[in-house]
Structure formats: C-alpha cells, structure tokens
Amino acid sequence: MSTERKSWICTTIDTPGGKRGSEVVILANLEGVADREKLWQPGTSLRVRFMQGEAELHDRVIATARAWLVPGVKLDIAKAQPGEKAHVRIAFNENSGSWSAVGTDSLLYPPAQPSMNLGWARLDTPEKDFSSVVIHEFGHALGLLHEHNHPGATIRWNKAAVNADLSGAPNNWDQETIDFNVFAAFDKSKVITTDFDAASVMIYTVPAHWTLDGTAFMPSWKLSAGDAETIRLLYG
C-alpha cells in the first residue's frame, strides 16, 4: 500500500434538497450505512459516462467498480453508449479530489456536470490505491454513506486535532464542512441501528492523532464481508 493512499479521503455530495437524518435508514443485522431514499431500483443497469480520460482508464474504472456486483446483487454497471442516458458521469479532475453524489442524487446533476470525480485515479495508480478510491466512490453512487458516520461508530474524536488538520492546506475546509463530513452521526432515534464495520471500504482514513484514545482506521481497498452483505441486502 502506498503511503499516499493513507491520506485519501473523499467527500460525499448532498445535493440541495438532499436528505439526511430521518430519511437515512441503517439496515438492521448487517454492517453498513445506506440511504434508502437514494437507492436505485434493483435490476437497474447503471450506465456510466466518462467526461474525461482515455478508454483504457474507463475500462479499468468499470472493471473495478463491478466489485460491488457480488453474487445475488441485481444491478449492472457498464459504460453508457453514445447517445444513451447516463446515470453516473465521471470526471478525473486532479484538483477536485475524489467525491460522488449519493445514489439517485446523481440524476439531479445537470447533464454537463460530473456526478463523480476520481481525481486520484489514473492508469499508473497502483492497483490497491486505484481499487480503494474507485470502489469507495461507487459505493456512494450506489447509495452507501460513510461508515464513520454510523451511530455505532462511537469514535472519540480529538476534534481540535481534526479541525487543525482539515482547516488547513490542502483542504481548507470550514467548520460546517468538517462537522458534516467527519463528525456527523446519524440520529439513533430515527434510524435502525446495527453493528459498525471498521473494515468497510466506506470508512474514512482516521489517523491515530485524530482520536482521544488513539484508535485509527484505514479503509479496506476491497469490499469487506460486511460491505458485500450490505450491497446484497440492498440490491438482492
């Protein structure tokens, strides 16, 4: 694993009018967090349009994203043909990091705009690094949310250290953005809670100095067993 991957974190994009909180449902008896309001219909063949990049890179992205199509999942992921409507539009803007709209929110983006950016995925990106970011972002595109926002995560944040790191370069986030992306936890009273999956591909990288008890998290570069069960339940 490259040292660089340790610093990868993505953001999810909530569109205006997008829903969090009471509409976010955490599925019982499995690990994972998904937004039920933003799931695709089971059986959907997700068509992906690439707005930049060479064909070989596109093929690598699609092949990697298909890791979510574990046995029992009634979805497909394929490149959109010319003229065909795309559910997901991908850019490779290196200056925009990696992010994705959540599930069907992708459809709310104007056709000329990407609904996902893979700023750190290139043809020469090492396999584990490439898989890590592509699978994570496609997890969002399929409706999954960040695992560290799971109410069962109970991460004891050293918020001063997190704020100091994320308010500065290269991110320069304001407090509202940090609170939303990092510290937010779904309201237990409004969701069905379940186990927290520290091995999920959907968790942030959390270095030890970001927590009061020294707990650190490193996301998996591939689907965890819990991720596979989650996607199977959502789309099986």
Partner: protein
C-alpha cells in the same frame, strides 16, 4: 474535589466543553498559525489540579470544542507569574496556542514546575477555575504513576479531500 469537571481519555470534560492539550515538537511551534497536533498530552487529575507533562523539546497548545455539539463558552488561560493571559470563545475559536500572543504554552524555560490558571465559563452553567500544572515528564510520571512516552514524530500529512 470539584465534580464539575473530570478527565476522560486524556481530555478535560467540564461545562459542556472538552479540552485536550495537544503536543508537537517545540521546533514546529510558530506564533499566530494553526498548529497541528502530533498527539495528546496525557492528563492526570490530582485533586483539583490538572497535571500535564511537557518535555523540554515539546510545546503544547490547548484545543477545545463543545461536547456534545451545540455547546459554547469562554475559555481563558492565565500565567499568574507573568500576568499573560489568552482568551477564546468556543466554538468560534478552538485553540490557544500562545499566551499574550508570543509565548507558547509549554513548560517555561528554567522552571521545574509551573502552574497556569484555566478558566471555563460555559454559556450555561457556573464558571470554574482549574489549576493546570505543567510538569517535567519525570515528575508527571511519578505523580500519576503512568508512563510517559516521547513523541514518535510528526503525524502523517493531512488527508487530501475532494
């Protein structure tokens, strides 16, 4: 013993505010900038005194945030010897990195021990003042019966975000 504050996981919890002393190499301390944390200073409560170790080659800064979210309050740190003091209003401000804008909050040079006064004034609730005793690591370990470990080095670079 004042029950309005306690130490939990090396953070001070009082009046709806959480306070943790952040360590970094003294050579990395700069006035007037956002400092990174290289790790937490371990805390030990001895009666109503908060004991904090600080090595000669380290500096500390104070980080504070509301816990649970939504709280607010005023924090002050005063050096009764020099008379220097710093104040912040949480959550708009979340760190005290210098006293009087010049000196890092670290063990003052040439002193074995030094006591600062930490003032908490929660938006809801009574004010309290806590003695914060900066100690050599050896003295702190002896008093707390806890091991102290030197900083392993700087933390990884902040994550890149989209």
């Amino acid at each position: 013993m004042d029950a309005r504050w306690q130490v939990d996981a090396d953070a001070l919890d009082g009046g709806g505010l959480r306070i943790a002393m952040q360590r970094l190499a003294a050579s990395q301390w700069r006035p007037g900038v956002v400092l990174r944390s290289w790790g937490l200073a371990p805390l030990y409560r001895d009666g109503d005194v908060l004991c904090v170790p600080c090595a000669d080659d380290e500096a500390l800064w104070l980080g504070a945030w509301p816990e649970p979210a939504g709280g607010a309050g005023e924090l002050s740190l005063r050096d009764p010897v020099s008379g220097l003091a710093a104040h912040i209003s949480v959550p708009a401000q979340q760190s005290i990195t210098a006293l009087g804008g010049r000196q890092p909050i670290a063990r003052p040079r040439g002193l074995e021990m030094h006591t600062l006064q930490l003032g908490l004034k929660p938006r809801a609730g009574a004010s309290l003042t806590i003695s914060l005793e900066l100690m050599t690591p050896a003295a702190w370990s002896e008093r707390s019966d806890r091991a102290w470990a030197a900083l392993p080095g700087p933390p990884p670079l902040p994550p890149r975000l989209g």
